[in-house]
Amino acid sequence: MSASAAPLALPPTRSHLRRRLRRYGPAWLGGGIVLAWVLIALLAPWIAPYPPDAVDVTSRLLPPSAAHWMGTDTLGRDVFSRLLHGARLSLFAGFSVVLLGAALGTLIGIVAAWARGWWDEGLMRLTDLVLCFPPIILALAIAAALGIGPVNTILAMLVVWWPKFARLARALALVQRSQEYVEAATVLGLRPRRILARHILPNTLGPLAVLVTLDLGNAILTFAGLSFLGLGVIPPTPEWGSMVAEGRELVEQWWVATFPGLAILTVVVGFNFCGDGLRDWLDPKGRSR
């Protein structure tokens, strides 16, 4: 509704503002959270108060204080500094898995939709085949077999990550091929470039972008989970999942495991807010949901 009202440029009323806030507030909040974490990841070496791997056994397991905002871990490392550095790997892993998975999946889906026939059948059965494995277990098996390390874990996740994008991309490509609005736009005399840019592109990229955004949180969760199980990183590397693992026996020293978990939670909430907002913005019909 607000989309159709906006071009009239009516002065915003209070209820109008409230509705807009309700509708877009979470999306902006999510965007803010994600942006903040991206900045932290980029600037970690400069803003972290201590080096992430500075061992100091004289100050191990200190509770949060002015000197160590989030306390120290079993080796006396500053949890806050490690958390800031941990953002780099988590975000890197999330973005690489989802973007590479989306690219690969979209390519496979579009090829299948374009080629039809045997290629379509073969590629889609392959997609179904990968989808019939529980993703965590398959990724766990592959990651364990490839060996510990972030690159191997990302590769293992990629193997299970592309199929949903392949399915979505194929369905979208098939639908767009035979849309009435494309014909209508052609009949109305719109230039093909305009049809592509203003009609087909938003309709295909939109759902993919929504899936990518919502999936980023998912990928970060899965990567952290595999790290928690000991597969994602080799120990001294600061990573949120493995930080929780290091602190999971330490109930008295709750800060060791609690803060990295909160970091994961906020990033994932941020991406979920963004994804929901993006979906509402791209699909005005579903907006009331």
Binding site: A224, V244, V251, V268
Partner: protein, 336 residues
Amino acid sequence: MPRYIAQRLVAAAVMAILASAVIFLIANLVPGDPVLAQLGDIAASDPATVLRWRAKWGLDLPLWERYGIFLQGLAHGDLGISIATRRPVLDDIIQYAPATVELATVAFLLSLLVGIPLGIAAAVWRDGWTDSLARAISLLGVSAPTFWLAFIMLAVFYGGLEWAPGPGRLDPIAFPPEGPTGFFLIDALWQQDWETFRDAAAHLVLPSIVLAAATVGLITRTTRAAMLDSLQQDYVRVSRAKGMREWSVVMRHALPNALVPVVTLGGLAYANLLAGAVMTETVFSWPGLGRYTFRSAAALDFPAIVGITLVVSVTYLLVNLMVDLSYAVLDPRVRR
């Protein structure tokens, strides 16, 4: 209808065989070497020991021959011998499965009991505080890392408040109930052993809440969306117009139709719970398939990895099949 079922069954069987080939290939082509994982550095440095060991586990045969042997065994219900536990993989799976199925079932019931009423309330009082609450719960449930949630629950309710018992299925000093099923709740009931029943139930509380967290969000969202849809249907307006009480309109007319997608989603969610138990079981020292999977993966125990992945993906396939069949029953148009 029988024709449709037959078609789907054949398709599922083909998928299962293909899946076994894929998982076998992945497990055997990757560079990880079970010799190193199993023998340790010292034994692995002696070539004769390594050769003997490889021959013993059939790792010296070409890949297709190994797959042939694997398929042959599979036809006899034999998944091979676990390298780590030295026991038949199928025996291991049968031993560990009840703990996981019990946990997943309790978590599933819990997520239905919370998710469906919450979804209904969110749809009926849309944009009210229940709706916001439902949103917040589902968002947090989906976004919180399972392993972290498990830690927080243990730290708060076991370590801090001492309201709940610690990890494991029973008190460390308690004996598991004798019984035919391996589900401690059912076996304890069977034996009328109330002490053990209470113990087992108490140990289930925290892990099932943790495991249910993500599913609750999913079920709440689906119920809410389906209820919003069915509350806008004409038959709802008619029932309201003829003066039915709102409670009856919601419960008798809107809800049954809204439950169709929830039920089908529920099937998939249940299969996901079985797989998602890996993290929960690891933190809660739950002696189930999840922990077994993790241990096998860490030890590069390929027969166990192949076996368990196969069992879980066949379960996945079967659940999918049942979901599709239930669609066919509920919606005649699907049958073709």
